[in-house]
Assembly symmetry: C2
Homo-oligomer: 192 residues x 2
């Protein structure tokens, strides 16, 4: 029992990992814990647009754990170039440490979910990745492009980065976003 | 699709609903969105102590939606007395409004999960309630009783409020907490 409690208190640190987008109407930046909750809710709400047969409960579990490594590494803007491999190695070391706090088999189960999300080879992980890419875009589309403008991110960069994973995991979501992003471009909500 | 997007953006407001306990090491108060994420993680991590046969995925879904009504009503300290019935009616009206933003059957499915959690009549909802009661206590036990002291809450009050639901939903968790709470009492971490 104590090892589980130590684990859940370690997870508390994810509430202090800040991302680049702000919750609507708030002046502070979003943290990775509340982001993970919102992704799980988006995945469930959008399930009619997931590929037939997608195991939505595994999607939810993946989304709950996918950012836990940021406790050690911090969040990295999705549009930063270079250093990807090093960051992923650091995140793997982090989740091995953190999930290793738990008694087995729980630690290994969480680690397997984290790896499945990262590898993106199952319909569940592709759908989960699509949801993860889409959520900050949805916030930016309601926020006049706040994090795109603050970080000098162009329309072309956003499209190049998110179109492939969202098309792969949830095609209807990409169709929706493509039109919204073009509208945002015309409004001047991008940073470059 | 647009109704789902409107719903998920409405949910963004839960990030701005503050609770009475602070995340460890942070000066701000916890919000109900990150709290919901942590509960889902605690439920999964503690599953070895859940009653045999508990459907853990339904537990997770319940915990993800159980606080959504606070978008309209705000959080209420678990130790406030009186007005409970009125607050619950207000929360029900809130979740009917918010889940009603979704196309069917998603709205009804979320509402059914919310009702199941509130009614506490299934093993899943009792376990989910136990986890919900335990998490702020675990934070207070690591925080020298921060929210108990700030709100003048006594040891007896905490025990009276949380022992029955935690014993009902996850007896081993209560055994653990009972000893930790007694230790906290001796350290003077309560407010009255």
């Amino acid at each position: 029992m104590q090892r589980i409690i130590d684990f859940i208190l370690e997870l508390d640190k994810l509430k202090g990992v800040t991302r680049k987008v702000k919750p609507l109407g708030l002046t502070r930046y979003e943290n990775s814990a509340e982001h993970s909750w919102q992704l799980a809710m988006l995945a469930l709400s959008l399930s009619a647009y997931a590929p037939v047969g997608t195991d939505m409960d595994r999607v939810v579990r993946m989304l709950l754990v996918h950012d836990v490594g940021e406790i050690d590494t911090g969040d990295t803007l999705a549009f930063v170039e270079g250093g990807w491999k090093e960051r992923k190695a650091a995140e793997l070391a982090a989740v091995e440490r953190i999930f290793g706090l738990l008694p087995e088999p729980h630690g290994s189960l969480f680690l397997a979910l984290w790896r499945e999300f990262e590898q993106g080879e199952t319909p569940e992980s592709r759908y989960a990745n699509a949801v993860d890419r889409a959520m900050p875009v949805l916030l930016n589309l309601s926020n006049e492009g706040q994090s795109w403008r603050e970080n000098g991110v162009s329309h072309a960069r956003v499209v190049a980065r998110i179109a492939p994973p969202i098309q792969a995991g949830c095609p209807a979501l990409w169709t929706y976003l493509e039109a919204r992003l073009e509208d945002a471009r015309q409004r001047g909500w991008f940073g470059a």
